[in-house]
Amino acid sequence: MSEAGDNKRSVGRSILSLMLLGPFLMAVLYPFLWMMFGIFKTNREFYQPLKFWPMKAFDGEYWSSIASTFFPNEYSWQNISELLDGKWVPFWAVFGNSLMVSLGQAFGAVTLSAMAGYAFARFTFSGKRLLFVLAVALILVPRQLFAVPLFSWVNELGLSDSLLGVMLPGVVTGLGVIYFTQVFRQVPEEYLQAARVCGAAELRVFLTLLPLVWPALLSYGMIHFILAWHEHLIPMLVLTSEAKQTLPLALAKLYDVSQRTPQGVQMAASTFAVIPTAVLFAVCHRKFKSSLSDMLVH
């Protein structure tokens, strides 16, 4: 087969694949578009259902009526400014809390798991197997299942209604330990030997390795940030005062029917809740994927 023929076939395949992907992309993106256009809608517009049936594919009026229900009648910033001005929830404070908790938790989790992973990957010591199994068991027992005893324990530690009480319980993660054990196993032995020959102490050896594995550190930090950003149950139990709330709690409050928050404001808050994780992922995407590719197959 000639080079050109091969190319042509692969263009055809590319287009076909894209077409097959189309419906899935629509199913994923449609609700998000609806959410973003929802910011500018009045409650009345918002609850207007799209009427697809009976379908009149060649009727311009049919399409324009669908478009007019899907798109808002006018674009005004009122809902966004109401949200940001804190008319419904102290939005900036809540956003800041979420950011602080998630960043802190991600940083703590990366630090602890990387150290533990290094110890598991690079040393033999008694009790190693047992401890490693314990770390695996961590994955299997989600904190959510033991929320009540965790909550009462956090209270006893004097961390109730503090951001630390939400941040700290999340820093132990089985997934992270296993991930970093795998990462440090793949660091060639020569690097370690070189560092040790230079007379570096074990802790220094660990620190000199960090720049080498930074894509892995970044990747895990990102995953953990996303998980922390989504956490709902633990903050719900620990945080009581309004000024200390995190984003999922504020969202739940906005969604609550009895609050009568305009739908547009709800959608604005939802959109803002997605933006940080989406941006973070978009930025780290490439590093994350290549570090996964290196690891998953081995």
Binding site: S17, M35, F52, F123, V148, V172
Partner: protein, 304 residues
């Protein structure tokens, strides 16, 4: 590795020193609450009750029909989500690899969007998809099917009330999970596929065989670790995640408990301060989770 231990006499406790911060937090925020949970499951219900009742809560669970329903539903829900998500994600990853290279990051990102969205937002977006007669699911899938069956078979299908009809509640919940996680798993599988050394395919091409055979004999075995990870993740998530079912069904089990999942049941017990029972349910899930992991590890070892 062994060299590190022999280097200096003090190096014996070095690994423990490095592990110390992790172990400290493990004890503080995992072991202690876990033990607290087990203890709570042996105590009488109610706040601040310290009276031990032995295994009474567990015995009560053994005869509790709702507990059996919740377990069965969670099991079906988890299994169904794995059965749908894994092949779908494999296919999507394949399509992403086959399509234009330039578009790949953008398309992957779009598919991943639901996994980046907080579960409460997802549930609200999903409510719209399900909501009653005018929901998107009915408009785009059920209604065309209905029109088709009316013309072909002579009797139509009404719109499905996804969140009220006991026959469909569980499928609705599964659909939500599929919508949420498929893109994420596609991403993992894609990363796994890109890590497979090209040489394997070149060797396979020499041995001829169809694309399908390449997939079956090269891609799939190589992806085993990834697929195991995906399955374990979905099992844990299926048995523990509560936001989705909670927002969609308002914390109830839905009509005739058709959508009652274990975590929802735990939450219901907690709401009435039956902490003993709630903890007993949580503890009773541990052997199940362990079994799931054991199966996964066993499969992994066998393939290695």
């Amino acid at each position: 590795m062994a060299a590190a231990n022999q280097r200096t006499p003090g190096a014996r406790w070095m690994p423990f020193l490095i592990l110390l911060p992790f172990l400290f937090f493990l004890l503080l925020f995992w072991v202690i609450p876990l033990v607290g949970g087990v203890k709570m499951s042996l105590q009488a219900n109610g706040l601040g009750q310290a009276e031990y009742v032995g295994f009474a809560h567990y015995k009560a669970l053994a005869n509790d029909e709702r507990y059996a329903t919740a377990l069965r539903n969670s099991f079906v829900y988890t299994l169904a989500s794995i059965v749908v998500i894994v092949p779908l994600a494999l296919w999507l990853a394949h399509l992403l690899r086959a399509t234009f290279r330039r578009l790949r990051p953008l398309l992957t990102f779009a598919l991943l969007l639901p996994a980046l969205t907080p579960p409460s937002v997802l549930a609200v977006l999903f409510l719209m998809v399900f909501h009653g007669k005018n929901g998107l699911l009915n408009q785009l899938f059920v209604m065309p099917l209905g029109i088709f069956s009316e013309q072909a078979l002579g009797h139509g299908l009404g719109p499905v009330s996804w969140l009220k009809d006991p026959d469909f509640i569980l499928s609705g919940l599964v659909l939500q999970t599929v919508w949420r996680w498929t893109g994420f798993m596609t991403f993992f599988i894609l990363a796994g596929m890109e890590g497979i050394p090209r040489v394997y395919y070149e060797a396979a091409r020499l041995a001829t065989g169809s694309r399908w055979q390449h997939f079956w004999h090269v891609t799939l075995p190589q992806l085993r670790p990834v697929l195991l990870f995906v399955a374990v993740y979905l099992v844990v998530d299926g048995f523990s995640l509560f936001s989705g079912a909670f927002v969609l069904l308002g914390g109830s089990g839905g009509t005739a408990d058709a959508g009652l999942l274990t975590v929802t049941y735990v939450f219901q017990k907690m709401r009435f301060f039956e902490y003993g029972t709630a903890s007993a349910i949580s503890v009773s899930l541990l052997p199940l989770m362990t079994l799931a992991l054991w199966v996964a590890l066993f499969l992994r070892r066998r393939t290695a």
